[in-house]
Symmetry: C2
Subunit: 213 residues, 2 copies
DNA sequence: GTCTATACTAGGATAGAC
DNA sequence: GTCTATCCTAGTATAGAC
């Protein structure tokens, strides 16, 4: 075949390639957004791929051209929320005290939660767990968020703002857990308060505790 | 059929009736225990009726002689944990300060959680939710627990032990949520601390907050 | 890479004998 | 009221045309 004369594969025009790529990304973004919302509403087990397809307005088979399984769909949504978290963290002014940065992140996460966009934490022993634990992008993003928060936790404890006797890992896990706090949903369902009020009360409970100070 | 001579249905000997009844109750108790454990491990959607049957060591069809649906299996487990909560509440000495009673209940619930016996809260929009909302025994038990805790919350806020500016409903929901706090599972999975340490730290975080006091 | 149509399986529920 | 065997829907995933 060495002697065969074939035209060299023409490199596609950059403009067009970029356009196609953009469409592709936009479509995947729409998919991940839908997954994210359904994950927040129903959890991984409760969410069905049919629902995702319906919400995106695309055939189910098409989803599987983008992502190889339901677990990978969910993983993409988890990566996305972690990246959004990193983006929020990056917007915080460096001179802000560490404990204020932490508060801001939790406040932001609670607002995301109340907006119905915070995926529920996967239960242990879930098929999702093992996929996530083998998912490089997810682990990377998780480590990056944890490291960032961990640094601030150290600073806030050193400054005396956060209780230094609490093990930092307890603080870190508590912050993650508060982002998914069911209290937010309960209060919203009770329907007696604005989302801002709910966020401030739950946030205050988190940092100040239930006891009188 | 009025003229038909039939022996009057002999009332079963109390001893034997009681025995049969006891066997029945013991079987149902075993079922509910298994459901409770699997609900804690996998959540409602993640739990399968096959697993329940396997764990009890009984045929799946037999389960449906006791409970009409998967939802009702779960509801029975929810009722049971609420009743266990009421039992624990009843053991507390009346002269104990209200805020200590509340702490004791949360501590107990966390221990139950770490023992793998705390059913996960049902996600909103679940088929389980609607069954629970139509389940008299569940609602009764829920109201009874809520009323009991609500009374203590009022007392603890009046005494100044709990922050009186926090809406009581926030306190109540927070206590329920802490019983299912994923932080407990995270810390346990991290495997660096005893369950007693975990409980005390999470409990302290709940009542004292993350901030330095 | 999108669609329609379908394969395949898991899982909730039931039939019917004992 | 327990069992075995089965029904049947829902839901993940894929085939194959365009």
């Amino acid at each position: 075949m060495v002697t065969t004369v074939t035209a060299p594969k023409p490199s596609a025009p950059p403009k067009k390639a970029s356009f196609r790529e953009k469409m592709h990304q936009a479509r995947e973004d729409a998919i991940v957004s839908a997954v994210n919302r359904l994950l927040a509403e129903r959890g991984f087990e409760g969410m069905t791929v049919d629902e995702v397809a319906a919400e995106v307005g695309v055939a189910k088979a098409s989803l599987y051209k983008h992502f190889p399984s339901k677990e990978h769909l969910a993983a993409a949504a988890m990566v996305r929320i972690l990246q959004r978290t990193l983006e929020h963290m990056a917007t915080l002014p460096p001179q802000l005290p560490a404990h204020e940065k932490l508060k801001s992140v939790v406040r932001w996460a609670m607002q995301v939660h109340l907006a119905g966009e915070m995926p529920l934490l996967p239960t242990e022993n879930s098929t999702l767990r093992s996929t996530l634990m083998a998912h490089g992008a997810y682990l990377d993003a998780l480590v990056e968020v944890s490291d960032g928060l961990g640094t601030w936790i150290g600073e806030a404890q050193a400054s005396g703002a956060l209780n230094p006797t609490t093990p930092p890992i307890v603080v870190l896990y508590t912050l993650f857990a508060r982002a998914c706090d069911p209290v937010l949903g309960f209060m919203k369902a009770a329907g007696q308060h604005t989302t801002d009020e709910i966020v401030e009360w739950v946030l205050a409970t988190c940092f100040n505790g239930l006891n009188t100070r």
